[in-house]
Symmetry: C2
Subunit: 421 residues, 2 copies
């Protein structure tokens, strides 16, 4: 996270800023409402005129005019007069209260309009006061806030027809592997279709990145080096899938070395995704994810997500940590911390989480239903249905790191050690 | 919900189907993996050759060739031979097991390659079997499923370079009100900028609709009737904001009547949003939402959302119902059920919900932080900090209706009555 940088900002039209990340602090440039207004359909009056009004002694006021929302009264309200006023219209000068339409009796006399009021009205009754919602100068949102429909309403209110947002990091995606076919090719012996690139592209887009999806490449050191050099020119973050292990054709480690990239880590004590490599090079990021679909998916959510989101100053850039009750036995122990693709169900009374299909790193089908990862700290024991477990979710707002629960860590000692790094 | 209709389906490229709703059932068109393959870098062998192998009596096998992923062996594995095989490569004929690279000793003799194995290997060891992830014909997803990155991986695996998705309902949005300025206009006395249209547009887009955002219109019966008739031609669903109450310039009820639209309801015992009107006309929908921003927002989430999502066969089209602990007192009682804009925080140990700012229907600022609605059934009592309350959230997966908890209803009798409608 020490290598995080902001890629820049840009102005986009208000109608296209949905889900982007605000790059400016936002303050109220005027009061809301900007003037005293009527919250009801009724009559703007001077409350003193009603001081002696009662059932038996109604007060009669001359109605000078009617104003709808958006119109301003031509007259002032003087003693003995009223102005018919609709919801949202500005309170006329001289009026200090509004009485609702259904509480008066309207009448015409000699072509003039009058109302009768049979109760006293207090000063300030039924007025929405200037600034009662928001005072001018109030801080409303800060840079790093995701733009929601509610924030769009506020931006519109204050006249922002364009909005300053952080540039989307450009994520290049290059799958490697001689076994890969394109999605529109028929199956061939020994080959499988490239699914990782499309999946990672969708993950990166969901995080808020722009995506360059490159044609997949065969495992060839020289041509891969050329490809990666070219792709890196067009990308802020380059994700490769495959080629990161120790096999004869796993060329990524050699390519990182040839590039002179600074490898931050290239082995992680986790399953799946242990061969994930992350490097930085001239201010850009290189993520070497596993070619196994599930390992690739997990690596992207755990390591790419915080880089994409932090580069737009999002304050909770990591997967969301929640607690859930394990909905199925998970007897297989593992010395390494596991991230099990899972279905997290927000039941009305709490969260339940169940492993999603086959827990193998090569599994595609487990990704279909998965909306979360069960985190099972490494150790010698399995886990029983009903246990409380930590779960990471990539939907909705994220979390800060380290995740604030020992459920995610082997022991509190381990957690402390991680925190101190 | 009896008036729901599907607006059609369309084929979109795999790279553009993110977050769309699948319009076809999806089955596995082949086994995954499509062939037996190696999950590790190692040697494909005939396990019988290792029956007597031990530390003291290693077995020596002639290595015929090396195959990387995507390549098919030119040779068969016969007794006494092995094929060096990389992760993902197809198991050669004659081999029934793989031994990992690090468990053998490799050696060259007279230009030929050999390995020594010092342990017995069982048949089927280290083979990812054809179909072990997914068998051909397995049902994977059905129409109405939202397309996630994981589903995109599955679509790619099975060669779907285009995907059949439900057409986005076209939502037209027309704000009415003489008080409205456009977002790029300076404030004028008695006027406010149009924020509802931009907000509702963002809400509809987030639900998965396409949006036609129309220029706001003044309160004028004849021209509004013309506008609405024109907008309705281009829209499946037309949302108007404002003009639904009983004031002198609230023309929507008259316009619905003139259109001959079937008004489904036009008053709701709720706050805010009591004046919401919903009508159907020639297979299209008309939503007359309040001009008050918060009432407008709530009406859109409660009433427009299920129509948009159900028209794409989404199975949980309503706001998500969850339980939360009230994080602040809410002493004001109300005879009507209230939907209070709120901030729902998924704490690690459970949900906490707090009212977001000013609880008035005209409030814009309360929408800024709100990510949910606290539902407070009507009655004579207020609510204390620490109470359990029902909360509706528009993020993530939705719920079915009626919401499955008495927290949302006045009493179980009321709930039953609602269910029977």
């Amino acid at each position: 996270m020490n290598h995080i940088r902001v890629w820049g900002t840009e102005e986009v039209p208000l109608t296209e800023c949905d889900n982007r990340i605000l790059a400016q602090d936002l303050s109220a440039s005027h009061d809301v409402p900007p003037f005293n207004r009527s919250p009801y359909d009724g009559f703007a009056i001077n409350s003193k005129d009603t001081a002696d009004a009662s059932e038996t002694q109604p007060v009669k006021l001359h109605v000078l005019e009617t104003i709808g929302a958006g119109h301003v009264a031509a007259n002032k309200v003087k003693s003995g007069t009223a102005i018919r006023i609709m919801t949202g219209a500005q309170i006329p000068d001289g009026a200090d209260a509004v009485i609702m339409l259904e509480l008066v009796k309207e009448m015409d006399e000699s072509g003039k309009s009058f109302i009768e009021i049979k109760r006293t009205v207090k000063s300030n009754d039924n007025i929405s006061f200037q600034g009662e919602d928001t005072k001018e100068g109030t801080k409303l949102a800060e840079a790093g806030t995701r733009i929601t429909p509610g924030l769009i309403a506020v931006l519109a209110t204050f006249g922002h027809h364009t909005v300053s947002v952080f540039k989307k990091p450009v994520v290049g995606i290059l799958s490697t592997g001689t076994e890969l076919l394109d999605v529109n090719e028929p199956l061939q012996p020994g080959k499988i279709r490239n699914s990782n690139a499309y999946m990672v592209a969708a993950q990166a887009k969901a995080m808020g990145a722009a995506v360059n999806l490159y044609q997949h490449r065969e495992d060839d050191l020289d041509s891969l080096y050329e490809n990666i050099t070219e792709c890196l020119k067009e990308s802020d973050i380059l994700i490769t899938t495959g080629g990161v292990s120790v096999g004869d054709y796993d060329y990524l480690p050699a390519i990182y070395e040839k590039l002179g990239a600074e490898v931050l880590f290239n082995k992680i004590a986790m399953r799946p995704g242990s061969v994930t490599t992350v490097a930085v090079h001239k201010g850009k990021w290189l993520f070497g994810l596993s070619g196994n679909p599930s390992a690739c998916f997990v690596g992207c959510e755990l390591f790419v997500r915080p880089v994409v989101l932090s580069s737009m100053k999002v304050k909770k850039p990591h997967c969301k940590a929640v607690k859930a009750v394990l909905g199925a036995d998970f007897p297989k122990p593992n010395p390494f911390t596991r991230f099990v693709r899972a279905v997290l169900t927000e039941e009305f009374d709490g969260n339940v989480v169940t492993p999603a299909g086959l827990d193998k790193s090569g599994s595609v089908s487990s990704l279909l239903a998965a909306n979360s990862l069960i985190v099972l700290p490494g150790g010698t024991r399995g886990w029983e249905k009903g246990s409380e477990v930590g779960v990471l979710s990539w939907n909705g707002e994220g979390s800060e790191w380290p995740w604030d629960s020992p459920l995610f860590f082997k022991s509190s000692a381990t957690k402390t050690a991680v925190k101190q790094q």
